[in-house]
Symmetry: C2
Subunit: 220 residues, 2 copies
DNA sequence: CGTTTAATTGAAAGCAGTCAAACTATGTGG
DNA sequence: CCACATAGTTTGACTGCTTTCAATTAAACG
């Protein structure tokens, strides 16, 4: 076990951790709660480009690039560790396994981005939403946050829509559709995937891209 | 200058370098020509998730992850260097600047993926196409392959469409639209951006996400 | 020069968006 | 603990961007 010099910060839902264009002096690791990265178009449309669970490093970018190319916001109230910019680089330079772990994390991050791009570009709205529900189910379980297919969706329909490039209205219709088809059950934001395999089929979901095995092989 | 054990391979247009699901024994660096990464949906729709110019490392993934989460194909006839799986890891372990360069390249890769995701999810078709034309213009110039805004598009309309999540038919209509509006000139696949600023405005293009400066700071 | 591959054009259909209003939760202060 | 305010969700009617299907033209290639 190795120690990183850091401070802990508690942030409220929707507060910004980093704004696009800034160059913060530290990188962040999620300790509890959920955090997401977003980008805006000039016209003001928002896209959530990734969601981060406890244990994940949200912004290596800030330690190794000069400009933040996206904003980071809290999806729920969250605790994050702030690691000084130089600290991560120093530790990585001294411990090659750390450097390797950072690279692996970043490659997995890229893999998920590719799947999200495929999703947004080439799957219809219901497959897209189903895909996200499946991904959240697997990642939450992998993070030790509940059993597979039974969880509280950590975001509003508007935020779901912004993960998917859809509108909130359409997400609402899709969710009630899934419910009517008996694919899911809902109580507020608590969701239960009633029939996993049919939902996986609808979603065209194959968890390979999550590289869950690779992630375990090199814990940070 | 440091040397990597490698072999050189020449590949024809459209041949596969890596197929999704494989676990090749080497990573690839583009020496000449263009190469792209693609993913397919279960229904067979294709999305090109990135395009790679000479000098770029296409698949660190294969050295550091256990399964290829996407396919790699030649966009044009190309020369690629094959670096054995262990070689990159060894060199990175011995030279921390190499490890850092690999990480920076991967972070930039992720930044471009985020922009493509924003593009596919939140911009309309004309902004999307214009955005790609601007990106190619800047990256080609940065790679020393011609002056800004005057180049040969290295792909067919179908491939353009697959970069954008559109159909070939629609890309055709959009391109002639741009031409009619005097934004671009065309002669076959040779393109000239006649009015850079209006195209940039239409595209909502801001090159920050390419991190061209960061890339220069750490040449591989 | 013939054959294959790529690009253009037109007409029609459909998925998801937009606008608007009603309804339901959630939360806060009196 | 209720009343009110705010935030989030549902539902309906209508619009429109992009796709689909199909046929033609142009370019590239051997």
């Amino acid at each position: 076990m190795l120690s990183l010099r850091h401070t802990v910060q508690t942030v409220e839902r929707r507060s910004y951790l980093v704004r696009e264009g800034e160059h913060p002096a530290e990188s962040r690791i999620v300790l509890s709660g959920f955090v997401f990265r977003q980008k805006l178009t000039g016209a003001g449309a928002r896209e959530i480009v990734s969601v981060h669970l406890p244990g994940e490093i949200v912004d290596l970018h800030n330690s190794f690039l000069t400009v933040a190319d996206h904003s980071i916001q809290a999806l729920t109230r969250a605790e994050v560790a702030l690691v000084p910019r130089a600290e991560l680089a120093d530790v990585a330079a001294r411990h090659i396994q750390v450097a390797r772990a950072l690279l692996v994390e970043t490659l997995i991050d890229g893999s998920i981005l590719k799947e999200w791009l495929l999703n947004a570009a080439r799957r219809n709205s219901s497959a897209r939403l189903a895909h996200l529900l499946c991904e959240l189910a697997m990642r939450l379980r992998a993070a030790g946050l509940g059993e597979l297919g039974r969880y509280r969706i950590p975001m509003t329909q508007e935020e779901l829509a912004d993960c998917l490039g859809l509108t909130q209205v359409h997400v609402s219709r899709l969710l009630s559709g899934f419910e009517k088809q008996g694919l899911i059950e809902r109580a507020g934001r608590d969701i239960g995937i009633s029939r996993w395999q049919p939902l996986v089929n609808l979603a065209d979901f194959d968890p390979t891209y999550l590289h869950l095995f690779d992630a375990e092989a090199y814990p940070a």
